[in-house]
Amino acid sequence: MVDKPHLDEEALAELQDVMEDEFEMLIRTYLNDSQERIISLKGAMMDGDSGAFAKTAHSFKGSSINIGAPRLGELCREAEEAGKSDSLNEAPAVLEAIKSEFQRVTNALNALMARGAG
């Protein structure tokens, strides 16, 4: 399986076009929400609540795909699968992967904005 890119340049470009002045606000909203979701995922995993884990992963997946972070989206899909199949033993690994990928995405998006998108 070919790894998905960290950022989908094309999708981001279109988003910029649609959002215009609000692009930066969108990115910040995403980044904030995503941090909260990661905390949520951790909590659900600790509680052994696979239902909540799957739901949050699903939500995170969707917004990541929309924002143009395909690899992060794919990782979230894996997390969602784990939650759905009640295999939370796989959760810690995928959660780590999500965290680190998220860091990459955060950096990339910040760099994009610094380049003068907002």
Binding site: A11, E14, L15, V18, M19, E22, M25, L26, T29, Y30, D33, K55, H58, S59, K61, G62, S63, I65, N66, I67, G68
Partner: protein, 575 residues
């Protein structure tokens, strides 16, 4: 409705998604397309916003916390009711089972993430077109419902007016039985009955072509003509001619009225009938003796006045004889197998009649048994007239609506008709009309008409035509009388009948003098048994005898001159 949806103006769109960033993206996207956006973060908010915002289209995330997309969808669809508000699920679900659940919850379509601007625009437009079409259909349906309701209401009102016209007159007289269609149906059938001023009755049964309002509309003028002329003493033929002429004038070429006119003369024990287009009428004398009165003429409203033949057939009929008239609704009654009652059914019904049974009941029962239903004959009209003994002089109620006009108090008038006019024209309605100008005489129209009628018929048949009245009282003589009458009327030459009127007011009311003179030979009034006798003894029914009895009873005085070819009567009326 043919405009592209994009051009039909901005829509109100409700979106619900728990992801702030996604929601923001979608909201901006839609706004850039020109629409107004309401956004909710969860199911509850979505439902609330739907209620207050009344959006045109809803975009719902399938999986949301606190009342998820499915439940919100169900609730929203319920709130929408009959309105079609397209509901599109936003989902990254891909399992067929999940998608099916979305549809079951009321979803009309799907949108997937990542958001694709072109896809979203296309879907919005497509669903909007659907929404508009549905709206148009609903509006049209509502309009049709309303129009239909109005039409039905109008028909109901028209039906009530029609009923005041169509089944009226003296249909409730003891010697008439009838069945007419019930309130719910405009069948185009009419049934009129009126007593005549000098006694006797006129009955008209009619069946206008078509159904519904057009068929019923012809009834109004026909009713007016019938009742107006009947009360003035016109006979059946005169009324038929008037009706025909009226209908020719007012009805379109393809509309006409099948009808039958019956003139019953109880005093002379005869019926005159005319049948143009209705099924056979039946005269039932007894259980075994009956004969038909078939249609011999074209229906009313087809022929011009100069081609129309209003000649009525004269039939001898004694008290107890019954004449049945029906419209073709009777023949067209059908049973469950689709067979028609027809003439055969009528004949069979009569053949099975138990003795003493009324033919009207017999026929109705026959129809009921044949059709097997209680509620048959929505479209049939059946009328039965029974011959009775002459009852009283004035069948019309004495109080005809008084005119507010004052009238002449003192006046004279001479009216003479000669030769061929004698046979073709009855002056009686006109002469009655002249007398009715006197307010005090108006409530006496029956008596006055009787007087004039007796004088005229006496003058015509015995004076001018010299027909012996005895002829009328044997079966052979009957036919002979009427054919002789027709022949002699054709040969009238140099004859006349002259009426002279004089009216003067009196202290106690008024006095009308009427002189009737004819060109005939007269009769021996000096030795007339009735005029001489003080008792009402009559040996056998003698027209002249009975006529003179009436005159004696009604008038203040009678005097005969010139061998009886000149009769002078005085009629007094009191305040």
């Amino acid at each position: 409705m043919d405009e592209p949806a994009a051009k039909s103006g901005p829509l109100n769109i409700l979106i619900a998604d728990d992801s702030d960033s996604d929601r923001l993206i979608l909201k901006t996207l839609l706004r850039r397309l020109g629409h107004h956006v309401l956004d909710a973060a969860n199911g509850h908010e979505a439902v609330a916003l739907f209620g207050s915002g009344k959006p045109d289209i809803v975009l719902l995330d399938a999986l949301m916390p606190a009342m998820d997309g499915m439940e919100a969808a169900r609730e929203i669809k319920r709130l929408a009711g009959e309105r079609l508000v397209p509901l599109i699920f936003i989902t990254s679900l891909s399992e067929a089972e999940d998608l099916a659940r979305c549809l079951e919850a009321g979803g009309d379509g799907f949108l997937s993430k990542p958001y694709n601007r072109v896809m979203i625009e296309a879907k919005i437009n497509a669903f909007n077109r659907m929404r508009l079409m549905h709206q148009a259909l609903s509006d049209q349906r509502d309009l049709m419902h309303e129009r239909n309701r109005q039409l039905l209401e109008e028909q109901h009102v028209a039906r009530r007016v029609f009923d005041n016209v169509a089944h009226t007159g003296c249909l409730d007289a003891p010697n008439i039985r009838y069945h007419a269609s019930p309130l719910s149906v405009f069948s185009g059938d009419v049934l009129f009955a009126s007593p005549r001023p000098a006694g006797g009755m006129l009955v008209f049964t009619g069946d206008f072509t078509g159904h519904g309002l057009p068929a019923a509309i012809g009834a109004m003028p026909v009713a007016e003509i019938f009742y107006g002329m009947a009360s003035k003493g016109f006979d059946g033929s005169d009324i038929l001619r008037e009706i025909n002429q009226k209908l020719v004038r007012i009805l379109p070429k393809d509309m006409f009225c099948c009808g039958a006119m019956v003139e019953a003369d109880f005093g002379q024990n005869q019926l005159k009938v005319w049948n143009g287009g209705l099924p056979d009428g039946w005269l039932v004398r007894s259980r075994t003796e009956r004969f038909s009165v078939p249609s011999r003429y074209l229906p009313l409203g087809i022929l011009n006045a100069d081609q129309f033949n209003a000649e009525m057939e004269t039939i001898r009929a004694l008290p107890g004889d019954r004449l049945l008239l029906m419209t073709d609704g009777v023949l067209e009654c059908s049973n469950e197998e689709g067979q028609l009652f027809g003439e055969k059914g009528v004949r069979l019904a009569f053949e099975n009649v138990a003795s003493g049974r009324h033919p009207f009941d017999t026929l109705l029962n026959g129809i009921q048994r044949f059709t097997g239903r209680q509620k048959f004959g929505d479209d049939l009209t059946l009328c039965c007239l029974e011959m009775v003994d002459q009852v009283g002089l004035t069948a019309l109620p004495d109080g005809a609506a008084p005119s507010t006009l004052a009238g002449p108090a003192e006046w004279r008038c001479v009216y003479e008709i000669r030769d061929r006019t004698l046979g073709e024209f009855s002056p009686l309605p006109l002469l009655l009309h002249i007398c009715m100008e006197v307010p005090g005489l108006r409530r006496k129209s029956g008596e006055i008409y009787t007087l004039l009628s007796e004088l005229y018929n006496n003058a015509l048949e015995h004076g001018v035509l010299e027909l012996p009245s005895e002829w009328k009282y044997t079966p052979e003589g009957f036919g002979r009388y009427y054919s002789e009458r027709a022949t002699r009327l054709g040969r009238v030459n140099g004859h006349y009948i002259k009426f002279s009127f004089h009216h003067e007011p009196m202290q106690w009311g008024g006095r009308l003098g009427v002189v009737c003179e004819d060109s005939g030979q007269g009769f021996d009034f000096h030795n007339h048994p009735v005029l001489q006798s003080t008792e009402m003894e009559q040996s056998g029914p003698r027209y002249a005898g009975r006529g003179l009895v009436l005159l004696k009873r009604l008038a203040e005085s009678i005097r005969f001159h010139e061998q009886g070819s000149r009769v002078e009567i005085v009629y007094d009326w009191y305040f």
